[in-house]
Point group: none
Chain length 75, copies 2
């Protein structure tokens, strides 16, 4: 099952640095550093504050779930 939420960027829900930080269990400053380093896409408000695409954040969380790929059981 592949939920391909291909939403236009206009309808995309945006998250604040604090919300993203809560999801990753990190400090909001850390999310800012990710954006500065280009590790996560960001949109700037006219005042300079960052906003993040919810779909991108969720996919990052889901993708990094499994650490060690469990090999299939030996028959």
């Amino acid at each position: 099952m592949t939920i391909t939420t291909t939403q236009a960027s206009s309808n995309e829900r945006l998250l604040t640095p604090g919300e993203v930080a809560a999801l990753f269990r990190v400090d909001p400053k850390t999310v800012t550093r990710w954006a500065s380093a280009g590790r996560i896409g960001s949109i700037r408000t006219p005042g300079g504050h960052r906003r993040f695409r919810e779909s991108e954040v969720r996919s990052m969380l889901a993708d990094l779930t499994s650490e060690a790929t469990l090999p299939p059981s030996r028959p």
Copy 2:
């Protein structure tokens, strides 16, 4: 408009390696080894640091507790 949050694992509370280590009374490095060996699920921050699901950790702790509390239960 009612958005039924279909978030499988994203809104799960996460714990840091140090927090998990404190709960198990082990060194944080040991928790890292568990993750590398696939004995415990882990999520990676974009920077490479690991986060662990609180529910999974609690479940593992419950198993330890029952093992330490209950006498050998198999006839």
